[in-house]
Symmetry: C2
Subunit: 568 residues, 2 copies
């Protein structure tokens, strides 16, 4: 049975749904409508286009075999009609028509549909501040805007830039500006950490240090009040001061683009996300929706979740394409995953952060470890850092995070844990997770397994930790503090600290601890320190056996202290 | 309650179990017994020690913080006694004693135990052929033997080497010899592919080509009959000829080292693996066993499985340590995972190969795809290759394999699928697997998702494939064949072939196919070819719409043909 499917939006989900449907029902007709002339591009590639890593915008629009996915491509190769430069004014669900308007010719017409797909995506939030409309102020909303940004950069007009918002896009844009264009770049974030709501303060701090090492100035807990300039933007003022800027990128989040759906009477959540079932149908079974404009189930909380992502959009698009053709494909939801390249660092998460877990009402804690990404005897290796968020009692895993270099090592580990999160794993499942093992790729007891082991030890009271943040506070306050600091590493590692701070930094290598037990201060809490936290844990057990229980193992050890950029 | 635990074997699982137990019960006594003087080393690192990547054997014995794990280390740091150079003669379960004998002093004594751990590992199989005892003939069984191999290499005595057996250790040793020592190396395998029983013929063929590109001669379906030489080995004869060799490495598999267990009346399988429950207890609840000497559940078949692996040994060791201390830790089994570095290639698998699945009685098929490991517009990327093994009907996933460069990209993908295999995923779960996405790490529709999609399309009859093996046969027989070959790529890619084989290699770019439908031969089966299999699939659908259904999509496309090293 031939039918006519209309798809509103032709960036990610729209084309995917349309092409899948056409592959299953080649005799049916599909019309895709988009308000822009640039369609079917990899929006996530915009920061790499701005940086110059991707030299030409057409690359973002191309297939892997170098065909540009424009309206002609869709017509000739996919047998799909595309109306570019065409906005949608309204949906009439009774007559099953869509009112469209060509933005150039201003001509309006009605398109009738048998089934409709809403692929309207998200819109960047804009701060309602004075000067937001000045030239040189951009969001990173679409390819046209990206081209305008790059044009400005290539014209040499920009020496100083401010990026507002330290989420993923803010970070990627800051890197693009600072790294490849050498622009003096300031990143301003209203929260007390970068990537708020995504990664832990600990991970955020390490990434922030890396940004700063790469000449991005990071300003936290600062609120932008206004942008100034006569025609072009020249200055940013905040609650803490002012910063000169020839360009301002607003990257303060996105919101579902769902006005059309709401106006058509479809069910929409308070946050603007369109409600769909697991077949990706809206409250009108003839209308499907997916991608950045919908909510899908959060598989950890069971509540509706908003996960704007080009990857989800693609997968949901295929589900919709199948179902348009009468299939019964399901998209059950997401646990929420994230990965970002920050200069030479990779940072990833899956599931909930500790803060999110607590906000959701979980009695949760997080545990952090550092370890080599490969067998420690293998010559090429790097330290990596992982954190797990677990529920007390059931020991159920709620989330995981990882940070490391650019070798895919973090990607590999967080992927594996992300894959099982929906099955409700416990710390024991992480301890025994069957990761692939060979020395050039992993350790026999991989960091993921070590993370599960450490979490179990902490939950069962075997391992008592402090984090680097607390360590830094105690260290700064060491004159007034009641704590002492005991370095459990070999003398070679401990020496610079013990000699610099003879009163505060005590050295007893862990393998000598049993013989030198008398030297351990017993009247104060002892902070145990080694390079990654393994020997200090061993030392903690040694001390406990001798009745010294008021000890704290510095989690992640000096490797993490260094990664924070702390000057000790 | 203080107790005495005796651990037999001090390489991987033994030390792990002993240390974990001591951390939980520091007041109990542990005695570890090993027949060698070299203990607690990373046996999987031996090929890298032989190659020189790991310069010194002590590195394999060291902790990540450079302490050598010898008997002194275990005594001073771990409070564990180790009897080195000490063999175990027998176990008396009634009196709960172990009879040991020092191999140097020949002194015997009885050790009494409260609980016992068998960590006896595996023994390398030796071919029962003439000359197997000659000098210069080695297995790769332990660090002492590895040191003897390296000594031989460093002495410059070896110009030509033969490695018998193309399993993981055989491949790693062949690379070590050929790559870093420049030795003329021949790899002989009795089966018709390298890595038999582990990866598919297709994956094996690509890896074999890579070995050959790196000057390792690979000889398949060849049986070694004898080794010759007066004192040292000089020549290898097979059923097909003879090869000069100054060194022979026998890498023909390992078998559980379980004579002691069997003699003690513990339950042992026909293949020699000790039977344990999911607490890693043998048929005697006071005796635990783990690592390369036991069978654990195969989580896919439910049958006992034998998975010798340093990684499993470590994880099982921790489980045993916990249970020795009265805990209730479980090791539920394994799906079987594998990864290997082959020069600049990584090759991985999880679960069953197609051959194994069929042998287990599954009505299974395998599907193969190739795709970039990152967003195709991202500048740094590499092609990778994946195969999935699925059951017809239920579409349950039985296994997965991957091949690519050395970027951890294969490790990451196979890890993620391996992690969920025990939960019984279907192709739909693979299509929607929530992998982390950002252009520097992955594609919005990642190769894993594409693999699930393709498998579904094949299972539902939408995509009709042939593999490279079949393609190669049809191509070689093209004069007599009834098939025609249609290149769906752009003319630039197709031209060299179409011009070289004007009668056999037809070119119609997929985007021109609808207009040039008349040119498609309709009297013969059509093999559709593109670079990775995406456009040829699209072409297959285009042709089907016009009633041309006798077509075959070359899976993995010309990228795979090239990877096979086929000269077309």
């Amino acid at each position: 049975m031939s039918q006519h499917v209309v798809v509103i939006g032709a960036v990610a989900l729209g084309p995917k749904a349309a092409c899948r449907f056409k592959r299953l029902e080649p005799d049916s007709k599909v019309t895709m409508v988009d308000q822009s002339d640039l369609i079917s591009y990899g929006g996530c590639g915009i920061p790499y286009f701005v940086s110059g890593d991707v030299s030409d915008a057409s690359q973002l629009q191309s297939t892997s075999f170098h065909m540009v996915r424009d309206a002609t491509f869709f017509r000739d190769v996919k047998d799909i009609d595309v109306l570019i430069n065409t906005g949608v004014l309204s949906i009439d669900r009774n007559s099953k028509t869509v009112r469209v308007k060509n933005v150039l010719t201003r001509r309006e017409e009605d398109l009738s549909y048998d089934q409709l797909v809403l692929a309207t995506g998200s819109l960047p939030k804009r701060l309602p501040i004075p000067g937001a409309g000045l030239k040189g102020v951009f969001t990173v909303s679409n390819l046209n805007e990206a081209m305008a940004i790059k044009q400005g950069l290539a014209g040499g007009e920009v020496e100083k830039a401010v990026v507002i918002g330290a989420g993923a896009i803010g970070l990627e844009m800051a890197e693009a500006l600072a790294d490849l264009w050498g622009i003096e770049t300031t990143l301003i974030e209203v929260a007390d950490q970068i990537l708020p709501g995504i990664v832990s303060p600990n991970m955020a701090r390490m990434a922030q240090h890396h940004l700063e090492e790469n000449d991005v100035a990071v300003r936290l807990e600062e609120t932008v009040r206004a942008l100034h300039g006569t025609d072009r933007v020249e200055k940013v003022t905040t609650d803490k001061g002012s910063i000169d800027a020839d360009m301002v990128i607003m990257a303060v989040g996105v919101a579902p683009n769902s006005d059309l759906a709401r106006a058509a009477g479809l069910e929409v959540l308070a946050n603007g996300a369109i409600v769909v079932n697991d077949r990706m149908q809206t409250s009108d079974p003839l209308i499907f929706a997916g991608g950045d404009c919908v909510a899908v189930a959060n598989l950890l909380t069971g509540k509706p979740g908003y996960f704007p992502s080009g990857s989800l959009a693609n997968r949901q698009g295929r589900v919709i394409g199948t179902n348009l053709a009468g299939g019964n494909s399901r998209f059950e939801g997401a646990v929420g995953t994230f990965i970002i390249k920050v200069f030479e660092m990779s940072l990833a998460s899956a599931g909930m952060s500790l803060k999110t877990a607590k906000a959701e009402g979980y009695d949760a804690l997080s545990v952090f470890v550092s370890q080599f990404d490969r067998a420690h005897f293998y010559p090429e290796k790097g330290l990596m850092y992982m954190e797990i968020i677990v529920k007390r009692g059931t020991e159920k895993v709620l989330g995981v995070q990882g940070l490391g270099g650019m070798s895919d090592a973090v990607f590999a580990r967080v992927n594996a844990v992300a894959a099982i999160l929906k099955y409700g794993p416990t710390t024991a499942d992480i301890s025994n997770l069957e990761l692939l093992y060979a020395p050039p790729f992993s350790a026999a007891m991989d960091i993921v397994n070590a993370l599960g082991n450490t979490a179990e030890n902490v939950l069962r009271g075997k391992n008592k930790l402090i984090d680097v943040d607390q360590f830094a506070k105690w260290w700064q306050d060491r004159d007034g503090s009641e704590a002492v600091f005991l370095d459990c590493r070999g003398w070679g590692n401990a020496k610079p600290f013990a000699e610099k701070y003879p009163d505060d930094w005590k050295s007893i290598p862990q393998d000598e601890l049993k013989k030198r037990m008398d030297e351990v201060p017993k009247d104060k809490p002892v902070v145990l320190i080694c390079n990654t936290g393994v020997r200090s844990y061993e030392a903690q057990l040694n001390l406990r056996q001798r009745g010294i229980t008021d000890t704290f193992n510095l989690q992640g050890g000096m490797a993490t202290v260094k990664k924070w950029g702390l000057d000790i």
